[in-house]
Amino acid sequence: MDTARSFTFFYSISVLLLAPVAAFAVALSMSLYLPISMENKIFFSGIAMPVLWVSTLLWGFSAHSTGKALLGIFAVALACIGSILIGMEF
């Protein structure tokens, strides 16, 4: 396996693993901070999860610059996990 192929394989696996983390983190931080009822928070963040998951996968796999895309997904996931931890008063 040459370097380019192993990089693509490694990149694909990274996107596949990071996409749900980023999507769930965005949906969860939305559920913590949106000023709506708890019932609506559960439903809307649940509905947002598959939408965000697919959007992140599309972003990751269609990106021209793989490094930037991976960094972008990672940054979004990290920022949202941080906001969740703050929201949960850890």
């Binding site: 708890m38 439903f43 963040s45 649940g46 598959p50 021209h64 929201g87």
Partner: protein, 498 residues
């Protein structure tokens, strides 16, 4: 969109289709058959075919008491009751045994006589669609992920299509094999695009709902999933220390009917306990967010609350997903339309795979695999329906289903010519389909006129006959046409594939 992004999206569309197309096909095909789960009931249970009239009383208290005396291990478990209707003219009480497995008991409405249930192929196919017969909740998650992959493939397909509107009417069957599959893929994809998107999104959400709920509960309820569930579905009281006499359920059903909706289903918890209660699920089949649950205490018959998912705007959206996915909101016409669109989704997947196979000379293994899975599943589904008629045990339906599927797969890999294999499987599937009304007639004990006059049974038999004729016609076309312009026949089988 620049050319690199477009190329990446096209690759994403191809690889999601190639790697996961067959599992998406399996879920779509079984889902299309499972649409008619309710309609297949009378066809599968010949002993339970009779004219339905709304009963004065269901005698539920007596029947539940008798069952629980016979099976005391089910006393602490939830008991479900399916109220009889025109499609399903028997009362079904479902209890859970010591291992938590569902056990169903059917009764006649007129004289409370317990009926012998035949193993249900429709139930087998429904479970195959909703969880691939994997343990819960992992089966649901797997099917949900399949929905996610389908959604990803559809959206990447839309983004890569530049001539979106042109594909509405471009179909050139007389040109090359590759053009045939490309046009078929585009036409089926574009015409039914809203359906494909809806079915993939709702399937992903329904399959992964419990996973999503657990994740949301982790953050919003400190990991207490039950608290999140209680907020959405209402809390269930725990069993009290003291026993109580249960009030007459028939009287509560009259009250629930006055509160609105058509009663479909009852759920009873803690029977015989002071905290026993009854949930009456009422439904209006003409709208999306229509399920209302009336809750009663069974110790004194007092009404506790009426609840529906549509009370919040988010709940309303979520409540619409199930009827949208299963096509249960628009009557039989809508279900037939869903069936056509569902088979369209299956054809979309197969045409996409065929397109990939014809683009380059791929190894014969892939061609045989696609045929083995797709035609094998068709034959296996029919075998499961035959299993309902000839087998006394539900386990045998699974054996027949997977056995026939494996048999067709083996045939596809063993025969020297794929064309012959396709012909054999098409003729086999067509003959099995045409034989369904015959075997149904052989096992039913009613008179010929009553058999023919039963709209549910005749509907299934007519659909089977039509399907069988369509399959045999396809086989005859494949047999007759050996011209180079006909896509069904691969004249180059021996050169490129075998």
């Amino acid at each position: 969109m620049n050319s690199n992004t477009l190329r990446n999206l096209r690759n994403l569309h191809s690889w999601t289709g190639v790697l996961c197309g067959l599992i998406v096909f399996v879920v779509c095909f079984s889902g299309t058959i499972a649409l008619f789960y309710e309609e297949l009931y009378q066809w599968e249970q010949p002993d339970q075919r009779h004219n339905f009239s709304t009963p004065q009383s269901l005698n539920l208290n007596q029947r539940i008491e008798e069952l629980l005396e016979q099976y005391p291990e089910s006393r602490e478990q939830r008991i479900n009751v399916a109220v009889p209707n025109a499609q399903r003219p028997a009362l079904i009480i479902e209890r859970h045994d010591a291992n938590g497995e569902d056990v169903r008991h059917s009764f006649t409405v007129e004289n409370s006589k317990q009926l012998e249930n035949r193993p249900s192929a429709a139930e087998f196919l429904r479970l195959w669609h909703t969880r691939l017969h994997l343990p819960s909740p992992y089966g649901g998650y797997t099917v949900g992920l399949v929905g996610m992959i389908m959604l990803l493939a559809i959206i990447s397909g839309i983004l890569t299509h530049r001539k979106f509107f042109k594909n509405f009417s471009v179909f050139r069957p007389g040109r090359s094999k590759r053009l045939f599959w490309a046009d078929a893929h585009n036409v089926f994809g574009v015409w039914a695009l809203p359906f494909h998107l809806m079915i993939a999104f709702s399937g992903a959400l329904l399959g992964l709902a419990t996973l999503f709920l657990s994740i949301i509960a982790l953050v919003n309820f400190s990991g207490d999933t039950q608290a999140a569930r209680d907020l959405i579905l209402g809390s269930t009281p725990t069993a009290a220390q003291q026993a109580a006499t249960m009030v007459d359920i028939d009287a509560l059903l009259v009250d629930a009917e006055q509160r609105g909706g058509e009663i479909e289903f009852l759920a009873i918890t803690h029977w015989g306990n002071a905290n026993a209660h009854l949930n009456v699920f009422s439904h209006d089949h003409s709208s999306f967010d229509d399920q209302v649950v009336h809750r009663y205490w069974l110790r004194d018959g007092s009404w506790r609350e009426s609840w529906s998912l549509g009370q919040s705007s988010g709940g309303m959206v979520y409540a619409a997903l199930t009827p949208l996915h299963f096509g249960s909101y628009g009557g039989m016409g809508m279900k037939i339309l869903y069936a056509f669109l569902g088979f369209g989704s299956c054809f979309l997947i197969i045409s996409g795979l065929q397109l990939w196979l014809t683009k380059q000379a791929r190894p014969a293994f892939f061609q045989r695999l696609v045929h083995g899975i797709s035609l094998g599943l068709t034959v296996a589904t029919l075998a499961a329906l035959y299993g309902n008629k000839i087998s006394p045990s539900a386990d045998n339906i699974g054996v027949l289903f997977f056995g026939c599927w494996a048999g067709v797969m083996a045939l596809c890999f063993a025969t020297p010519s794929l064309r012959h294999c396709r012909l054999v499987t098409l003729i086999m599937a067509g003959s099995l389909c045409c034989g369904l009304p015959i075997i149904d007639r052989l096992v039913s004990s009613e008179s010929f006129s009553a058999w023919l006059g039963n709209i549910w049974v005749s509907g299934v038999n007519a659909a089977a006959l039509l399907g069988g004729v369509a399959l045999l016609w396809t086989a005859s076309k494949a047999l007759k046409n050996d011209g180079e312009n006909v896509a069904w026949v691969e004249r180059s089988d021996t050169q490129t594939i075998d």
